[in-house]
């Protein structure tokens, strides 16, 4: 976070990228789950 002491601009940017990657991975997990359910249900 910007206000946290000792956190440089590079750290802040890396943290934002980490959170974005987490969001992408979580979305992928949900999507794979839904696709599996749909495919198993024979559409």
């Amino acid at each position: 976070m910007a206000g946290r002491p000792g956190l440089t601009e590079q750290h802040r940017r890396q943290r934002a990228k980490n959170l974005a990657l987490l969001a992408v991975l979580a979305t992928m997990a949900v999507l794979f789950y839904l696709v599996t359910i749909v495919r198993m249900g024979g559409q």
Partner: protein, 307 residues
């Protein structure tokens, strides 16, 4: 790399700090504006295809098309970072601006490319996956690496990549390639040359500076305008094909005809216009033209083809 690129300076990409790029830079690598048109035409193919696809699988298909388009853009930016650094329009991109290391962009594009194709194959079907892989490969290897710096016909042949998304959307539903999806392909394929040549008529200075042999650079403005007229004339009957084939009703046919005539009128104006105003107007209209053609096709089907 081509002969041209060997004469160009190495970019500052290697000098950027590790982790220097932020999320906006990764988004920029995906070429979001190009992606939006690709996603739209892909959706049109998916919507116009006969049959039905489960909404979750349709969403996955659209995500894969978007990711594939983004991957192509990222790999293209990785390869073209040398000339991007020299052109006004592109020098602010993440790689030439030194905000991202080249390997980072290539890795990002590569993961997206492989991931989107595998996901399309596993979740949707193999025909759509093969077409998506073909689109990415054509854009990267045939257009970007092979043709762009070698021939003024680069955008004519390279246009195949931009024209494939409706076929991918169609194949996602049907699992096949059909005459109707080839017609959608042909519309975008014939639209691409006048669209890009209109742009290059008022942007040829940049292309000449970096040695990209766009038609106005190697053949001159007069020849480019002649080719624009030729392709715009050929585009008109192609846009009417969905009506003749029964894919769309009379309303589409009339509207497509009027849009085609307006486009042809702008091409004639470009022929007589020695300023950049005509090409700029034609370039702007070309985007609206393609967008409206596909909106009309979608509307026609949504209204039950009664229009």
């Amino acid at each position: 790399m081509s002969d041209i690129s060997m004469d160009l300076p190495e970019r500052a990409g290697g000098a950027c700090l590790a982790g220097g790029a932020d999320i906006a830079d990764f988004v920029a690598l995906l070429k979001p504006r190009v992606m939006s048109l690709v996603v739209f035409t892909g959706f049109a193919g998916l919507f116009l295809a006969p049959g039905a696809l489960h909404p979750v699988l349709a969403l996955v298909a659209m995500l894969c098309i978007a990711a594939g388009a983004g991957a192509s853009g990222a790999i293209n930016m990785w390869y073209e970072r040398d000339i991007d650094a020299l052109m006004r329009r592109t020098r602010g991109r993440p790689l030439p601006a030194g905000r991202m290391a080249p390997g980072e962009a290539l890795g990002f594009g590569g993961v997206l490319a492989v991931g989107s194709v595998v996901m399309m194959g596993v979740a949707v079907n193999y025909v759509a996956a093969v077409l998506l892989a073909l689109t990415i490969a054509f854009y990267v290897f045939v257009y970007t690496i092979w043709l762009k710096r070698r021939t003024p016909q680069n955008i004519v042949i390279g246009g195949v990549a931009g024209a494939l998304p409706p076929m991918i959307g169609w194949a996602a539903v049907t699992g096949s390639v059909a005459v109707e999806s080839l017609v959608l392909f042909a519309i975008i394929f014939m639209w691409t040359p006048p669209h890009f040549w209109a742009l290059s008529l008022f942007n040829s200075g940049d292309y000449a500076k970096v040695g990209v042999p766009m038609l106005p650079v190697v053949a001159g403005a007069r020849e480019t305008k002649k080719q624009i007229l030729l392709y715009t004339g050929l585009l008109l009957p192609v846009t009417l094909a969905p009506w003749w084939l029964g894919m769309a009703g009379a309303l589409y046919g009339v509207a497509a005809g009027l849009l085609g005539l307006a486009f042809l009128g702008l091409a004639v104006r470009v022929w007589f216009d020695e300023t950049s105003q005509g090409p700029r107007r034609m370039f702007g209209f070309s985007i609206v033209h393609l967008f409206l053609l596909f909106v009309l096709l979608i509307a026609d089907k949504a209204l039950g083809g009664a229009a």
